[in-house]
Amino acid sequence: MYKKYLTFALITILASVPLFLPNDESRFDEWSKSLLCPVCQGETIYDSPSEYADDMRSILQEQINNGMTDNDIYEFWVTRYGERIITNPIEKNYEIVLIPLFLVLIFIYVFLRKLYVKK
């Protein structure tokens, strides 16, 4: 029986780990992972080794050092390069996640209905 308590205790410790050791991904990494390098066919500026991406990273680093807000950074890049520069358009367009989720739910419903047997 004590084993169950041990498991329970371990799970509690695990679940509380993030409270003491929070995630601290830098804003720069977060942003550079979400900006598309416009000349590199589908890579973000975090991944791309190209000069262009490098210049963009420098600008981004400066923006973050200057303490620009996320919204300002967003506006800056979108006005210059258009919406496609943002590889993470979800925050401003929830439907991008909701449509596939909805379709998945329909699929699951149909799928299970076919298999379900009433007792």
Partner: protein, 629 residues
């Protein structure tokens, strides 16, 4: 010469296939399948000979090979662009048709070979009517060839040096392995499709469709796994993209058939054991095949931009026609079997074997669906709202990530599944020691890391899965009567668990920084110091390499910039990777001037763990090699 022979023999192969499609004689079927295989091998060799002889009167060779291209990359140039890769596609199809004939042919009907040859006719037809790698050059461009002809015996023009392959494709020997592996996997999805459709067409003749479909799916699944793994390794280790997976459209369309095939490999088992999911399995087999054609369409027709995209031309329309024809065939044969499908049994024990397999299928199929939607979403937005959007990592992280995590947790129970509902209480009693040990290991690992719940659950689940699987293997490996596919599954699951651990570490822990530095200076990163030497320039016929040696306390590695001649493309940078089990120090360089550099230094976690996991999954075929005792 090469051009004339190539076009004539393509026609010959096309005619042989037409004859094969119509012939009734069993003897002729066997003969013609072999003749076609021979012709396709001949065509493959012919183009290779052309590449090595630098026969630039052939448009494809002039455009995608050059005099200075090293032999290995000349060899690989055959699949370096669209037309040549269709030739490889045809060769794979012909080999598979031969193997199918040899091992899986229906005894008393030629229907399966008819369907197979029909599909092959379609792809060989592309090289005959639309665009062929053997097309002769009739109008020169500044470098390479501008216009070509498919009609033999024309006066062709010869360019001087050839344009050479895309720099990305001549930077590493993996170019010679990764694409063919993927092609074998991709084209192999034809096998289960043919097996299922032909056997269901007249079911009274053969009722083993699910066995054959399952067996023939495993081979392409394995090659697809290896192909995708090698692609990820190439992108990370050599191209200096930093990433191994970018959710790029071409990567996605190789992942979709993989997900579907994985689903099918599971659901076919439950059809065999309990006669359920009959209709669903048929749908999966169809979608596996159709998704490969759709994937080729999406990425080769130029409708989507991607790192891998090449050449558009008219293949889009051609593939769409094919997609329609094959879909209709699939639906037609499906509708003939409505009665048979309705015999499919319903599920009673939702927490027993069948329930788990159903859940597995729901998750894998949903993931495929989500990846599919993510791939075509930008197209959809552009057509309907005239907005250009990019769907990046975040989309997949949010939706596919959690689904695959649930799958990982389900695998824990796959070790010992019973037909009846699982009894959690006794399961817990049986495994409590290992469970507690795993949780303790997880806590130990997670201290000092950037934490979030996603990381915690993944780490705990994968460690539990790893330990339980290993214990089970040690305990039961000697039991000879256990089904060999069971051990294949267990090894694959073990690999996935290791992989999951690696990928979650990588996604949550990695970070990067930039350093501006001069020659003979030292910098600190992640508690160790790195010394930068002076750069070295190396000239090769096809490229110039600028190397920068960097050493830590133990070893010296080079990060380099490869500048290719005859190419308008950007230079390719290769990383210096200092590897340990838990993390890689990954350095790429940008040269500012003579002796000052900008280094992008990343600390990438979990990469080696990921490779080990994928390697384990790739060797899951070993138990299948063993003959049943």
């Amino acid at each position: 010469m090469i051009y004339n022979l190539g076009i004539l023999f393509s026609w010959l192969s096309f005619s042989v296939l037409i004859y094969l499609f119509f012939t009734k004689s069993k003897y002729r079927v066997h003969l013609l399948v072999r003749v076609n295989l021979f012709l396709q091998i001949f065509l493959f060799c012919l183009l290779e000979i052309g590449l090595f002889l630098n026969d630039f009167s052939v448009s494809y060779i002039a455009n995608y090979s050059a005099v200075s291209t090293p032999p290995l990359y000349k060899f690989a140039s055959l699949w370096g662009s669209l037309d040549g890769s269709i030739l490889l596609w045809n060769l794979c199809l012909s080999i598979f048709m031969f193997l199918y004939l040899k091992y899986y042919k229906i005894e008393n009907s030629n229907l399966d070979i008819k369907i197979f040859s029909f599909i092959t006719i379609f792809f060989v037809g592309y090289t005959v009517f639309s665009s062929s790698p053997f097309a002769g050059c009739i109008e020169l461009a500044t470098i390479g060839c501008n216009k070509s002809t498919l009609i033999p015996f024309q006066n062709t023009l010869m360019s001087n040096l050839g344009r050479g392959p895309n720099p990305l494709l001549q930077n590493h020997p993996l170019m010679a392995i990764h694409p063919p592996m993927l092609y074998i996997g991709y084209v192999g999805m034809t096998l289960p499709f043919v097996a299922a459709t032909s056997r269901l067409f007249k079911r009274d003749q053969s009722d083993d469709w699910i066995e054959v479909a399952e067996k023939t799916t495993y081979v392409p699944w394995l090659f697809l796994t290896i192909g995708i793994t090698l692609g990820a390794a190439w992108s990370y280790e050599v191209l200096g993209w930093g990433g191994y997976w970018a959710w790029d459209p071409v990567e996605n369309v190789s992942f979709i058939p993989w997900l579907l095939a994985t689903a099918f490999l599971h659901s076919s088992k439950i059809q065999k054991s309990s006669k359920t999911l009959l209709n669903w399995n048929y749908i999966l087999v169809g979608l596996m095949f159709l998704s490969t054609i759709f994937g080729t369409f999406v990425t080769r027709s130029g409708v989507l931009i991607s790192v891998h995209a090449f050449s558009n031309g008219n293949i889009g329309t051609y593939l769409l026609i094919g997609l329609t024809i094959f879909s209709l065939l699939f639906i037609f044969i499906g509708s003939k079997n409505i009665e048979y499908f309705s015999e499919s049994k319903k599920i009673n024990n939702w927490f027993g074997k069948s329930g788990f397999f159903v859940l597995n299928n729901i998750i894998l199929f949903s993931s495929a669906l989500v990846v599919f939607i993510g791939t075509i979403f930008p197209l959809f937005y552009e057509t309907i709202y005239d907005r250009q959007i990019t769907i990046g990592r975040a989309y997949y992280d949010i939706i596919v990530g959690p689904m695959l995590l649930v799958l990982l947790c389900l695998m824990i129970f796959s070790i010992k599944l019973t037909v009846k509902n699982i009894n959690l209480n006794s399961w817990f009693t049986e495994n409590s020691n290992l469970l507690n040990l795993s949780l303790a290991i997880a806590i130990f690992l997670l201290i000092n890391l950037n934490n979030n719940y996603f990381l915690i659950v993944t780490t705990a689940a994968s460690i539990i899965l790893i330990l339980l699987t290993i214990k089970n293997m040690v305990k039961r490996i000697r039991i000879t009567n256990t089904n060999k596919t069971y051990w294949t599954g267990q090894i694959a699951h073990l690999g996935i668990a290791v992989f999951a651990l690696g990928i979650i570490l990588n996604v949550t822990q990695s970070y990067s920084t930039e350093k501006e530095i001069n020659s003979f200076q030292e910098f600190e990163f992640n508690n160790s110091s790195f010394f930068v030497y002076d750069s070295i320039e190396e000239n090769k016929p096809e490229k110039t390499i600028i190397k920068l040696p960097i050493s830590n306390e133990i070893t010296t590695k080079y990060t380099s910039l490869n500048i290719f001649r005859n190419s308008s493309q950007q230079a390719i940078s290769s990383p210096a990777v200092f590897r340990s089990l838990s993390n890689d120090i990954y350095i790429t360089v940008k040269f500012i001037d003579e002796d000052s550099y900008k280094l992008i230094v990343r600390n990438n976690y979990g990469i080696l763990i990921m490779w080990i996991g994928l390697f384990i999954s790739s060797i899951s075929f070993i138990p299948r090699l063993k003959k049943r005792v």
